[in-house]
């Protein structure tokens, strides 16, 4: 039997609604739609038969008959409630994104320093078309099926712009809330531009408010780091067993820039994250970390691709999975060192713990080196908690369940430590602890009110 061609329904959706979609958006975004549509007509979604997708079928993820909020119905959300997601003891600048709709908050608008823009992508494309056009669709490759799909259907998202030399001291927090009539899909686009020598840390939290509804979160992030810029981009997914997520991050770094990303998957259904980082100037550093805690039947696939295009750059990738129940994890990562990138340092490791007999992990680290002057390594391990450490802790009176939790938290600690902001690290440690004690996650404090 031929697999259902999931892509067709989205092409039809666009073809039938092109005018409406255009009318809600801005010329800069609209310009790419038809080209994307034409390309998609001769494409298909990747399935498990395709290289790089052996464990996750994008076709299956997109196949259900999701609704798309083409007409921009205002799905109400109590923004004030979301403030409870705020990190304790640290003042963050907070914005809320409902599905794909950017909702500004007053504290954000009142407290953004000069030279920092955090706004709706659609609005930015209308107000600053030249600026958005300079980057939009330039970092994410338009011939990638999912990028093309996003180019075709995107209506809104987030635009973050840091002017030259601007230092954003307070972390910026985006809270993505999925809500509305299910089943529903949303196509979100995030464009982050850090001009020369600017500095920012951004925390992105994903929540699904209605845990019974089936949702598809499709996201493309484009991140530009100009000369000397420093950006930390930290994600926490705490969605639901019925949420599918395909998130692609494309990062381009110019010389002397420094990028750190850590994505934590704490509660999810089916998740696929792609990280594509191009180191295009000398003396860049890029650090990618992935933290996965999965149980039930959830599935999480991280795919990283770090490309060294210039000399004297450093990259480090650290992905850690803790899989329980019948969950499954996949990691495929590569470091590519081009001939024009001597004196590269590139490291990659993937370590996994299987906490149950039925949990599965698939890992495939790769090095593609076209240069002799490099220091590169990769490695992967999959195992269980150390029984000697467990017994040692028990002999000190620590109950076995607590000992297991401490070891699991410890297992994640080096990945958590890659986060550059103390408050976000502490927050994540707290969330991991709650997750491992089986407590509901943010919900006691957070406005996504999934606990109700």
């Amino acid at each position: 039997m031929m697999p259902m061609d999931a892509l067709k329904q989205y092409i039809d959706l666009y073809t039938d609604n092109a005018e409406v979609i255009d009318s809600h958006s801005a010329p800069v975004l609209n310009e790419l739609r038809q080209t994307a549509c034409d390309l998609l007509k001769s494409s298909r979604f990747p399935t498990k038969k395709d290289e790089g997708f052996h464990k996750t079928s994008i076709n299956d993820m997109f196949a259900p008959d999701f609704g798309v909020n083409i007409n921009r119905y205002n799905i109400p959300v109590d923004v004030a409630e979301s403030f409870r997601c705020d990190i304790p003891n640290v003042s963050t600048l907070l914005a809320v994104v409902v599905n794909d709709r950017f909702v500004a908050t007053r504290p954000l608008l009142n407290n953004l320093p000069e030279g920092v823009t955090v706004t709706s992508l659609a609005a930015a494309a209308r107000l600053h078309p030249e600026l958005v056009k300079k980057y939009y669709g330039r970092i994410a490759p338009g011939d990638n099926v999912n990028v093309a799909l996003n180019n075709m259907l995107v209506q809104d998202g987030v635009f973050i712009h840091l002017s030259k030399n601007v230092v954003l001291e307070k972390p910026l927090q985006l809270v993505n809330i999925f809500d509305g009539p299910a089943p529903m899909a949303a196509f979100r686009r995030v464009l982050i531009v850090a001009e020369e020598n600017s500095f920012a840390n951004i925390l992105v939290c994903d929540h699904t408010r209605n845990r019974d509804g089936a949702y598809l979160s499709s996201e493309v992030m484009e991140v530009m780091l100009e000369k000397g810029a420093s950006v930390g981009l930290y994600g926490i997914e705490e969605s639901s067993a019925n949420t599918a997520r395909y998130s692609q991050m494309f990062v381009r770094q110019e010389h002397d820039s420094s990028f750190s990303a850590a994505s934590s998957t704490l509660l999810n259904g089916v998740t696929r994250n792609d990280y594509n980082v191009s180191l295009n100037g000398e003396n860049c550093s890029a650090e990618l970390a992935g933290i996965v805690i999965a149980d039930g039947k959830s599935h999480i696939d991280n795919n990283s691709n770090v490309i060294h295009n210039a000399p004297h750059c450093r990259s480090n990738q650290l992905f850690k999975y803790l899989l329980d129940g019948e969950s499954s994890g996949a990691f495929e990562g590569s470091i590519v060192v081009r001939p024009e990138a001597p004196f590269t340092e590139g490291y990659q490791s993937n370590h996994n713990i299987l906490a149950s007999d039925k949990a599965r992990m698939h890992t495939r680290p790769q090095l593609l080196i076209f240069n002799d002057e490099v220091k590169c390594s990769h490695g992967a391990t999959t195992g269980q908690l150390d029984p000697d450490a467990l017994f040692y802790m028990q002999t000190r009176g620590i109950p076995v369940d607590q000992a297991r939790r401490l070891l699991m938290q410890a297992f994640m600690s080096d990945a958590v430590d890659t986060i550059r902001v103390d408050a976000i690290r502490d927050r994540l440690r707290h969330l991991l602890e709650r997750r491992l004690t089986g407590e509901d996650l943010l919900c006691a404090e957070c406005g996504s009110d999934c606990h109700k």
């Binding site: 029984p387 450490a389 017994f391 040692y392 028990q394 009176g397 109950p399 401490l406």
Partner: protein, 262 residues
Amino acid sequence: MLRIMNNDILLDVNNLHAGIEGKEILKGINLTIRPGEVHVIMGPNGSGKSTLSSVLAGNPVFTVTEGSATFHGMDLLSLSPEDRSHEGLFLSFQYPVEIPGVSMVNFMRAAINAKRKYFHQEPLSAGDFLKLMRQKRAVVELDNKLASRSVNEGFSGGEKKRNEIFQMAMLEPRLSILDETDSGLDIDALRIVSEGVNKLKSSENATIVITHYQRLLDYIKPDFVHVLYKGRIVRSAGPELALELEQRGYDWIKQEIDEKFE
């Protein structure tokens, strides 16, 4: 020296048989320990010394096939390792385990508060806990820097053993088993560790010292010396036995026993 002896029995091991993967290692251990006593268990390699300490501490790797162990009136073998700890049993490991990512502070706090919970006490406040840590660190001159690191990670051999005695000081056990605590120690570390053990000694608690060498006994004075061989305690006597073993080795005992069991 007049020692205040308590006639209550702290640990009574009776005909204990245990093994691993079907192979019997302990073949009928009998041992009685009273509060205030220091017992030394010596014996050639592979005689079962470390197995005995592991079995008493509840290591799930070993299976008890016969016999009993009564710990101040409780059936020790039916207790989980953590409950054995709460009830006052402490094992100083021959090879203390490194636990990267778990800080000594969190580890010790979890241990102390688990014990307090077991006895229906409130957890210690952060301030009181740190005060206790400071106080007990002094017993073995454990550096504050070590206390803030991950459990045993990157510790030298001597630091690991000092850390064991520090934990013993924190938990205030009724019976401590020191498994080859002297191995891998230089003379200064040996002195610090031994002094720590001596400071913690009282008429209420007891110690089992497992060792290869007489040299530790220059610092820790035993009341009884036992020789373990082929899974049995084949000889028990006063401290003079340790000296005799130091001079004559184990061969004469081995020969005697092997003839007896032939």
